[in-house]
């Protein structure tokens, strides 16, 4: 039985940050996830923004953890060689009656000590966003925020954690947790048993089930679902800031540029999902977010939508007003709950720091790892590499000159590199390389990626999956092949 000091359950953005932070220290760390790729559940299916803390009431834990998030992310972007896009926020008042709300929001910004947070009038709005509705009576303009692509970050964090000695166990669902003695647990998975002293419950939508496995019956989650649509890059000029109309715990109306330069529209009123995997998009929700989007930008072209998806967010029963709950379990000593919700992505780096402090308080001795490598091995990206670097890369390896995804200009070399570094599904390749994210949504590159995966993983094409488990991309071979 493998013995760990800390096991992190769940490789979403929070679990990935925690694993990477823990890898700064000497110790045996394991990161477990039932999926085959980090950051592919709740982490992926959100608005993917590093927000200001304005949506969080002052005095809340989540508000506190969001402060300075862009600074933390930018520093990490350099260490891990991951991308981000700077996007400023505009909270719009769509009627004069809403101006008072903006003033309240501005005061909140002051309380949070936001450096740049100002009220602007219709003329300035028009300068900043010429396509925004004429109804906009005023806006709160907040600068210095970011858009990121979360699965890429989760992958980078996990990869860096791995380089620094963390053991990654993907495709490994935790089925049971038993106690061994006073202060140790045995984690049962379909791939064997693992022993640990401390456990981090970062299991997202499944945090309640993981808590119960460890004997903690107190955790309950309330789930809601938001719907998003991605628009083609040909209309990216329409919106340059994150535009918020109205928002509350019950709904949200926004249009934002994404890290990859598309536009995203969301999220509508939040219904309750049927079950934890219910990330289906429904026709009426789609119409609703388009309608809400057009209220902000009337010329929003719905026929340029290239992709739609839904994501589930959770709130816990342990704290009021949808706040986070990051605490030691009361009935399972050694387990730390990370029950987050929106804006979890923004808060994730600070959550990780807090969890490390809590582990220290609980008696875990953390000695600095001398060999800690804070820099992750860089990743060649054809679409953003400077001319001379491209030239050198193709000369050294001609596969970097063979474009596989035409929409996003992803080369065969990048795809092979992704496979070498652990991406073993079609969606996994998409998350790390962007192949299949463009205008044609994998129409051209889907089949070549399938073939590259089959060849490099050394498995038949009918064993290659779209997103792990039983999501086989194809089911067999035609007669022409068998003959």
């Amino acid at each position: 039985m493998k013995d760990y000091d800390v096991i992190v359950i769940g490789a979403g953005i929070v679990g990935s940050f925690i694993a990477r932070e823990l890898s700064r220290y000497e110790g045996r760390i394991g990161l477990f996830d039932k999926g085959s790729f980090p950051g592919c559940a709740v982490t992926k299916a959100g608005v993917s923004l590093i927000h200001s803390p304005l949506m969080c009431p002052p005095g809340t834990l989540k508000g506190k953890l969001c402060i300075d998030a862009p600074i933390r992310y930018k520093k990490l972007a350099d260490e891990l060689d991951v991308g981000f896009k700077e996007v400023d926020e505009l909270f719009l008042a769509l009627a004069p009656s809403q101006l008072a709300n903006l003033e309240a929001l501005r005061k909140r910004g002051e309380e949070y000590g936001l450096a740049s947070c100002e009220l602007v009038g219709p003329e300035r709005i028009r300068e900043l966003e010429p396509h925004v509705t004429e109804k906009a009576a005023g806006a709160l303009y907040v600068r210095g925020l970011l858009a990121i692509y979360p699965p890429e970050w989760a992958f980078a964090l996990c990869e860096n954690a791995l380089e620094n000695g963390v053991h990654l166990h993907f495709g490994t669902a935790v089925t049971t947790i038993t106690k061994e003695g006073d202060f140790a647990y045995v984690i049962h998975t379909e791939k064997g048993l693992f022993k640990t002293r401390y456990m981090i419950n970062a299991a997202g939508l499944y945090a309640d089930e993981v808590a119960r496995m460890a004997g903690d019956q107190e955790i309950e989650l309330k789930l809601t679902k938001g719907t998003m649509a991605i628009l083609d890059k040909s209309c990216s000029h329409l919106v340059r800031h994150t535009l918020y109309g109205t928002f509350s715990g019950m709904h949200s109306q926004l249009i934002t540029p994404t890290a990859h330069g598309n536009l995203m529209v969301g999220l509508g009123h939040f219904p309750t999902p049927v079950h934890k995997q219910d990330t289906s998009v429904t026709c009426d929700k789609l119409q609703e977010i388009i309608r809400m989007g057009k209220e902000l930008v009337p010329s929003l072209p719905e026929r340029e939508i290239i992709s739609t998806f839904a994501g589930i967010r959770s709130e816990n029963n342990k704290s009021a007003n949808g706040d986070f709950y990051i605490a030691h379990s009361r009935s399972a000593p050694g387990m730390v709950h990370c029950l987050i919700g929106s804006p979890g992505l923004t808060a994730a780096p600070a959550v990780a720091e807090r969890v490390i402090e809590m582990l220290r308080d609980a008696g875990l001795v953390l000695g600095e790892r001398e060999s800690f490598q804070e820099k992750r091995g860089g990743w060649f990206r054809f679409s953003t590499a400077p001319f001379e670097a491209l030239r050198g890369a193709i000369a050294a390896d001609p596969t970097y000159g063979r474009i596989v995804c035409r929409c996003e200009h992803v080369t065969e070399g990048e795809i092979l590199e992704a496979i070498r570094r652990g991406a073993d599904t079609i969606d996994g390749i998409k998350h790390v390389t962007r192949a299949g994210m463009g205008e044609c949504q994998g129409g051209y590159c889907g089949v070549p990626v399938l073939n590259l995966l089959s060849k490099r993983l050394g498995v038949a094409q009918d064993r290659v999956t779209k997103k792990g488990i039983k999501s086989y991309a194809i089911t067999g071979f035609t007669k022409a092949r068998s003959e």
Binding site: D278, I394, G401, R406, G443, N451, K466, T475, K479
Partner: protein
């Protein structure tokens, strides 16, 4: 800097499908001394026909080939010319030059990055089918959803079987090709789904295939949701007439048709884009809004027949040769054409009445054509300029996604208001739009 490091050619053609190849063939046939470069992303030339197995070549080569046979034939013809063919070479961006100056194309291949400069440029990048997202079909994005083009690559190029039982969404010509491909691959067909009450292809052919292969055609039916989380498990359909929800079990969904141009290369360039087609907009010579940059084939409109694309490639070649030999600018007297729903688009978007008047056989000019958004029965197509009707014609059936030629030579040109341009309508449709 670009000027020094670039490779000079007379004509650069982007896209090695029927339109691009035909443009090259015609150019080299009529003017053997031209230096022509053709860029194709795939390993082989031929474009979409490479993966289809239906009838090809009727209107351009005047013989019937299979898709791959047709692609091979074009390839063979091209290899006999001195056109420089670069496969596995993707055009990354184009930088149009100032008036009369060279245009630049940056390409990449395993041989490296190169920049070409040429006075003439042809965009023939073709089209792709609408994805799940574009069609706004709800699902949890399971495996087992393919477009027709993906299906045909999988089955015809790689001999793989995408699933065991497939539902075909759409009833355009591509849907007929889809059911034949499915049959060849030994995949059972769960049905064909069409939102409209009319089929968007030849109805007798669709019904014939439905009888022959034993699958139902669901008309006036839309997709409510695709079920399944890992792999497709079925599709929930809603009959509009009855409003009833029903479930079809299948492990594969094929999205067929709804083609759109691949026009990424014109983003962030001064080349004007037609919102209706999302491809470049062109004049009667198939020239874009930037002088000496031309476009041909499906980049102009999406899923048209390959042989019509090939003929359009030839037309582009003729336009280029004409411009080479004459400095006369035809820029004066252009009049714009606009399509009103249910006409989806009109190509070209600009015509020159003086040229139509000058021509002895106006019907031989590169044609103006339209496509309608959905199949119409007993429709009257009309052309209007301002308040004046300048042409009309009654059609028994106008099939969606089939090109309908518009005889602009027959328009009453005396009634045309140049400022207002010409609108193409289906009788009554403008009233509906107003109401």
């Amino acid at each position: 800097m670009m000027e020094h490091e670039s490779i000079a050619v007379d004509v650069a053609v982007i896209g090695g499908g029927p339109a691009g190849i035909s443009a090259c063939l015609e150019l080299s046939r009529k003017s053997p001394n031209l230096k022509i470069a053709l860029f194709e992303s795939e390993e082989e030339l031929g474009g979409m026909p490479r993966t289809c197995h239906l009838f090809f070549g009727m209107r351009d080569l005047r013989r019937i080939y299979t898709g791959p046979g047709y692609a091979r034939k074009l390839n063979d013809l091209l290899r006999k010319t001195h056109v420089d063919v670069y496969t596995q070479t993707t055009a990354l961006d184009i930088v149009p030059g100032a008036k009369g100056e060279n245009h630049f194309v940056r390409v990449v291949s395993p041989d490296g990055l190169k920049t070409y400069r040429s006075r003439f440029l042809v965009l023939a990048t073709g089209c792709c089918e609408s994805s799940l997202g574009e069609r706004l079909i709800p699902s949890a994005r399971p495996a087992g959803i393919f477009t027709t083009w993906q299906l045909q690559q999988i089955v015809n190029l790689h001999h793989l079987k995408p699933g065991n039982r497939a539902l075909v969404i759409g009833s355009e010509d591509a849907a007929l090709s889809t059911v034949m491909t499915l049959k060849r691959a030994g995949i059972s067909i769960a049905g064909m789904v069409e939102e409209d009450k009319e089929l968007q292809t030849y109805p007798l052919m669709a019904q014939g295939l439905s009888g022959l292969y034993g699958f139902p055609i669901y008309r006036e039916t839309s997709v409510n949701a695709i079920s399944g989380i890992d792999r497709v498990e079925g599709v929930e359909l809603v009959g509009q007439g009855k409003g009833s929800l029903f479930h079809v079990t299948c492990d594969t969904v094929i999205l067929s048709g709804r083609f759109r141009p691949i026009s990424q290369l014109i983003h962030n360039t001064p080349i004007a884009r037609d919102e209706a087609t999302s491809g470049p907009s062109v004049d009667m010579n198939l020239m874009t809004s930037v002088p000496n940059i031309f476009a041909a084939g499906n980049v102009l409109r999406g899923g048209d027949m390959h042989d019509l694309c090939a003929l359009e490639g030839k037309n582009v070649a003729e336009s280029i040769l004409a411009r080479m030999s004459s400095t006369e600018d035809e820029g004066d007297g252009w009049i714009s054409l606009r399509a009103i729903h249910p006409i989806r688009y009109v190509v070209p978007q600009k015509i020159s009445p003086s040229r139509i008047r000058r021509s002895t056989f106006p019907s031989l000019l590169p044609g103006v054509s339209i496509q309608v958004a959905h199949t119409l029965r007993g429709a009257i197509l009309e052309a209007w300029s301002g308040e004046k009707k300048i042409w009309e014609k009654t059609y028994g059936r106008v099939i969606a996604n089939h090109r309908v030629p518009i005889p602009v030579g027959r328009f009453n040109w005396d009634g045309v208001d140049f400022e207002k341009g010409i609108e193409l309508r289906v009788n009554g449709s403008h009233l509906k739009a107003l109401g």
